[in-house]
């Protein structure tokens, strides 16, 4: 029987639970013997000119091996007027920006030495507010005439809403959040006698990191080896390598010793990139019968202090996915990203797509409220229908497959929507203090939207075991298990005879890695292709051994052996025999899967919240979800991604926000102030299964890594608003804190 689709326990967990993982800070490799320890001195001010830096006292302190500033670095940084320096030069642009590097013999000496680096800051006006940033009153970069880092305000089509009976518009904030992975950023590195740099890095993409390091250090990529050991989460914020890694590689070369670094939790909250951070102005128009005719989305993306992914990629995905699951005849999107004196913004679980979904799903509810129709009904009327796929949206996305109405109906029936509405009405009538809110979100998102391809190699070893090298870079998802299942199914080799390797650029030189929910669909598909090639070759070898024609032999996957078709009694040859007979080059295939196409997972979520109308506290009671990413290889890891995604999505709706005061000081820079979600704030997840395959890869799978995050945020936000709709509340910003909810109730009561 095939293991595909069965609940296979993660092969990763035994080690993680017993001996523990080897994260960067656990490594005891001989190359790291005698390593010095590193700490970055970071700016405590959001915007300032650096007057002078006096490192003399720090250099004298006990245990110091080196203290370096931008002046010491003899490597070029990104060109262009808004290029991000490796260490701040002349000017700092956010609290947390690295200004100097301290190296000491012992880790406990670092903080003492860092305090001795005397930096003279000459404060400038901090640009925090988006309108202030757009005004260009204070510019972040000399030699520019605006803080806009991408996109532009475009004149809108004035006739867009001409035939609409109802038009609703609203400005909505999709707040900035912190990725906060369990394992903070860390790196360890050493230059070998052979002149090569080896860096162990907590990254989602060893190969991209290698190229960034080589580029930064001005050396050939072949000179750099990057190894991703166990990585404790990334959520998009560990894509590639951050500037710190380049400085560490440089410093190790400079002092001629291995270097180790990991950041503190507070550093992580301010100096690792943040996610989201968009302001939306949505305008939606249509007929009173529920038909939506036109939708306009204006996005202002807060890019933070330097243009990373937040400047282009995030708003680009928001633009592409703007119309969501709806057949809207006219769609207009304009995006601008603007620099502010805050931590740079980059990818975070969904990266631009959750923002698009949040905007359109809030807009649908605003429209529904305006015409007095149930939000489920409005969605049904406007869904793209199954027979319309592949479907090209006005914003240019080509959706593969979808069953949007079926997904919504499935969660509504599983949740008991009609009964919940009745209960809501009953409580309202009785004047209960604790009211009920139902929130719906229907979503579609794009996964593997980067078009960059992936690598995979499969070796059958002479002992009959299989070793596969994947370009994907799992960091908690359980991908080793899923990939081993694929190969076990394909080869008929038991799971425990299959080893998956990843994340060492010497073993896997060409690869892209893990982000955008791409790993199974690309990393898995390419392993399948490599497996097919191995099987083709094996067939010829087996035919030889069985003295039959290749056309007559077949792989018996139940036994993991080759046999003559229709004559099982005629003897078999094992994988070990085939591999042993493969000759010098062994039995192996190394494939690059380049012609890749994105896929479009979709789903629907129903959130049920209770809101205490006296205190304003909203509590999530139920969440019922369809997250359809095609056929499921392993329900254990698939559900794991949905659980984590739901938790993070709910967190954005109810709890999390990375905030700054007017001077640009972060006010949520510790985990005492930044409220990540815990199990006690979450109900049991009610998962409803649906599996609509894609036609765009050999496995038929879509990505599940981000899907549940995307649906849950607007479902919960809509539920909180719905709970208070009878009081006249139309919108509440995220996170829906008790104070905000209380304020919204007060405003509605006072007719504001």
């Amino acid at each position: 029987m095939s293991v595909m689709g069965t609940r296979v326990v993660r092969i990763e967990d035994h080690k993680l639970i017993t001996s523990g993982g080897s994260y960067v800070d656990d490594l005891r490799e001989p190359e790291l013997t005698g390593a010095v320890h590193a700490m970055f001195v970071r700016s405590p001010i959001a915007h300032a000119r650096i007057g002078s830096i006096d490192v003399s006292a720090a250099r004298e302190a006990p245990g110091v091996v080196g203290v370096f500033t931008a002046d010491d670095l003899d490597i070029a940084f990104a060109p262009g007027p808004t290029g991000e320096p490796w260490l701040a030069r002349d000017r700092v642009r956010y609290v947390g920006e690295p200004v100097a590097l301290v190296l000491t013999e012992h880790p406990y000496q670092l903080a003492d030495v860092a305090e001795l680096v005397d930096i003279d800051y000459d404060p400038l006006d901090a640009v925090i507010d988006l309108d202030d940033a757009l005004s260009g009153r204070t510019l972040l970069f000399d030699g520019t005439d605006s803080n806009v880092a991408g996109g532009k305000a475009k004149p809108f089509d004035e006739k867009l809403f001409d035939d609409c009976e109802v038009v609703v518009t609203r400005t909505i904030t999709n707040q900035r959040v912190a990725p906060a992975p369990l394992e903070v950023r860390g790196a360890a590195c050493a230059w070998g006698e052979d002149g090569r740099l080896t860096m162990w890095l907590s990254t989602q993409n060893a190969q991209i990191a290698r190229d960034i390091l080589a580029g930064g250090l001005g050396v050939d990529p072949g000179t750099v080896r990057v190894i991703a050991p166990d990585v404790g989460g990334g959520f998009g914020a560990k894509i590639g390598a951050d500037p710190e890694a380049v400085v560490l590689g440089w410093a190790s070369r400079r002092v001629g010793r291995p270097v180790r670094w990991f950041e503190t939790r507070s550093e992580n909250l301010t100096a690792m990139t943040h996610g989201r951070g968009q302001r939306h102005t949505v305008t939606i128009g249509g007929r009173r019968d529920g038909t939506v005719l036109a939708y306009r989305l204006e996005v202002v993306q807060d890019a933070g202090a330097y243009p990373r992914a937040g400047a282009g990629m995030l708003p680009g995905f928001t633009r592409l996915m703007a119309p969501g699951v709806y057949r809207i005849p006219r769609v207009e999107v304009a995006t601008r990203s603007v620099l502010t004196n805050t931590t740079p913004i980059a990818a975070y679980r969904g990266a631009g797509r959750p923002e698009a979904t949040a905007a359109i799903e809030r807009a649908m509810d605003l429209f529904a409220a305006e015409i007095g129709m149930d939000p489920a009904e409005v969605r049904r009327i406007n869904f793209i229908r199954p027979e319309e796929f592949p479907y090209t949206t006005p914003s240019g996305a080509s959706y593969d497959t979808g069953e949007y109405a079926k997904a919504l109906d499935a969660v509504l029936s599983a949740g008991g929507y009609a009964e919940l509405r009745a209960e809501q009405a009953r409580r309202r009538e009785a004047g209960d203090v604790v009211v009920l809110g139902l929130g719906i979100a229907a979503y579609v998102e794009i996964t593997a939207g980067d078009g960059m391809g992936e690598s995979g190699r499969v070796d059958v070893n002479p002992d009959g075991t299989v070793t596969a090298y994947t370009g994907s870079s799992p960091h908690g998802q359980g991908l080793h298990t899923s990939l081993a299942m694929l190969l076990s199914d394909q080869f008929g080799v038991p799971m425990d005879k299959i080893t998956i390797r990843h994340g060492d650029t010497d073993e896997v030189p060409k690869a892209v890695g893990t982000f955008a929910s791409r790993s199974l669909q690309l990393g898995g598909s390419v392993l399948k292709q490599a497996g097919d090639q191995v099987i083709e070759r094996a067939k010829e070898i087996a035919a030889n051994l069985l003295e039959a024609s290749p056309d007559d032999v077949e792989l018996n996957v139940d036994q993991g052996a080759w046999q003559v078709r229709g004559a099982p009694s005629g003897g078999t040859v094992t994988w070990a025999q085939v591999a042993a007979a493969a000759g010098e080059d062994g039995l192996s295939a190394d494939v690059w899967y380049g012609d890749v196409q994105p896929t479009f997972p979709f789903g629907a979520h129903l959130a049920v919240v209770e809101v205490d109308t006296l205190t304003g506290k909203a509590v999530l009671r139920r969440i019922i979800a369809v997250d359809d990413a095609g056929p499921v290889v392993n329900p254990v890891t698939f559900q794991g991604q949905r659980h984590g995604g739901l938790a993070q999505g709910v967190a954005q709706a109810l709890l999390e926000e990375m905030s700054y005061d007017a001077d640009g000081n972060p006010t949520t820079a510790t985990l005492a102030d930044y409220p990540f979600i815990t199990a006690t704030e979450l109900p049991d997840f009610e998962l409803v299964d649906m599996a609509t395959p894609t036609t765009r890869n050999p496995l038929g799978v879509k990505g599940i890594g981000e899907a549940a995050t995307i649906g849950s945020t607007p479902a919960v936000q809509n539920a909180v608003v719905d709970a208070l709709a009878h009081l006249g509340v139309r919108h509440i910003e995220m996170p829906a804190t008790p104070q905000r909810v209380w304020q919204a109730i007060n405003d509605a009561r006072e007719g504001r």
């Binding site: 903080a111 809101v611 506290k617 709890l655 905030s659 006010t667």
Partner: protein, 276 residues
């Protein structure tokens, strides 16, 4: 996350701890559960030169009755208190509050003495002790003295303890048969209170409504004058000066104080209204 260097001394008796405090003066700091002091040191917001560790003083971990009074050793941990049968029976408010602090790790380390001596207006036990009319017993070079809870909390993070005094015992009148309730308003279960209310009979202690834990005296007076809980609760914000922060303004906290006081009084009186 690495504190400034310090020396470490371990006290094996109360007298020795008092002696060490006297020896080091302003430079010494007692270390009990470490769950307020160590985070401050790791953030380099506190940098004592000497830590005098009193956590091993097992003879200060107890709960016992002394006539009509319940006596609690200052080094009793929240987990001990929450599960202590004597406390649950004779001072259920304190046993309950101890179980509502932080998370399991915090409750296994944090001590009642440490929480009271730290005197954070946002902490749970100080307000509960105020409502309980508790008495704090301090020991210094000159021996023991008793300080009523109402005179103990002077300013934010400032108490009536002398630098060379150690808190050794907390005493409360037995609460048998008296209605009590505790309302701790948080966003997440592990959070500190945005506002909290501890009620014992007609005594009301407020968390996070001023620079120190306070009694809601106007509410108590109204109750004594015959007001019903709802009427009395309306006065809960009178004379308060809560912190004014972006996620919880002073006005919002005052509103919460009224709502939560109303609920706590109703609950203490045996009527439990719906709320989250």
């Amino acid at each position: 996350m690495i504190p400034v260097g310090f020396s470490y001394r371990r006290a094996s008796t109360v007298d020795e701890a008092v002696g060490l405090l006297g020896e080091y003066g302003d430079e010494g700091k007692l270390l009990a559960g470490g769950h307020s002091l160590l985070p401050l040191m790791k953030l380099r917001l506190a940098a004592p030169e000497v830590l005098v560790d009193i956590a091993p003083l097992a003879d200060l971990r107890y709960v016992r009755t002394d006539g009509d009074t319940v006596a609690i050793g200052a080094l009793s941990r929240y987990h001990d208190l929450h599960h202590d049968e004597v406390l649950r029976q004779h001072a259920p408010l304190l046993a309950h509050v101890a179980g509502a602090i932080g998370d399991p790790q915090v409750r296994h380390r944090g001590t009642i003495g440490g929480s009271l001596a730290h005197a954070d207006a946002a902490a749970d036990l100080p307000a509960a002790l105020l409502a309980s009319d508790g008495v704090l017993v301090a020991q210094g070079p000159g021996g023991r003295r008793e300080i009523p809870a109402g005179e103990f909390f002077l300013d934010p993070f400032t108490t009536a303890l002398q630098p060379d005094e150690l808190l050794v015992e907390i005493r409360v009148p037995g609460q048998d048969g008296v209605g009590w309730a505790f309302e701790k308003f948080t966003r997440r279960s592990i959070d500190w209170a945005i506002v909290g209310v501890a009620v014992l009979g007609q005594s009301v202690g407020l968390i996070n409504m001023a620079g120190t834990p306070i009694r809601a005296t106007r509410v108590e007076e109204a109750l004594a004058g015959g007001a019903n809980p709802a009427e009395a609760a309306e006065l809960a914000a009178e004379g308060t000066s809560p912190p004014d922060e972006p996620h919880a303004s002073a006005a919002y906290r005052q509103h919460l104080a009224r709502v939560l006081t109303g609920r706590a009084l109703e609950r203490a009186a045996g009527r439990v209204p719906a709320g989250l």
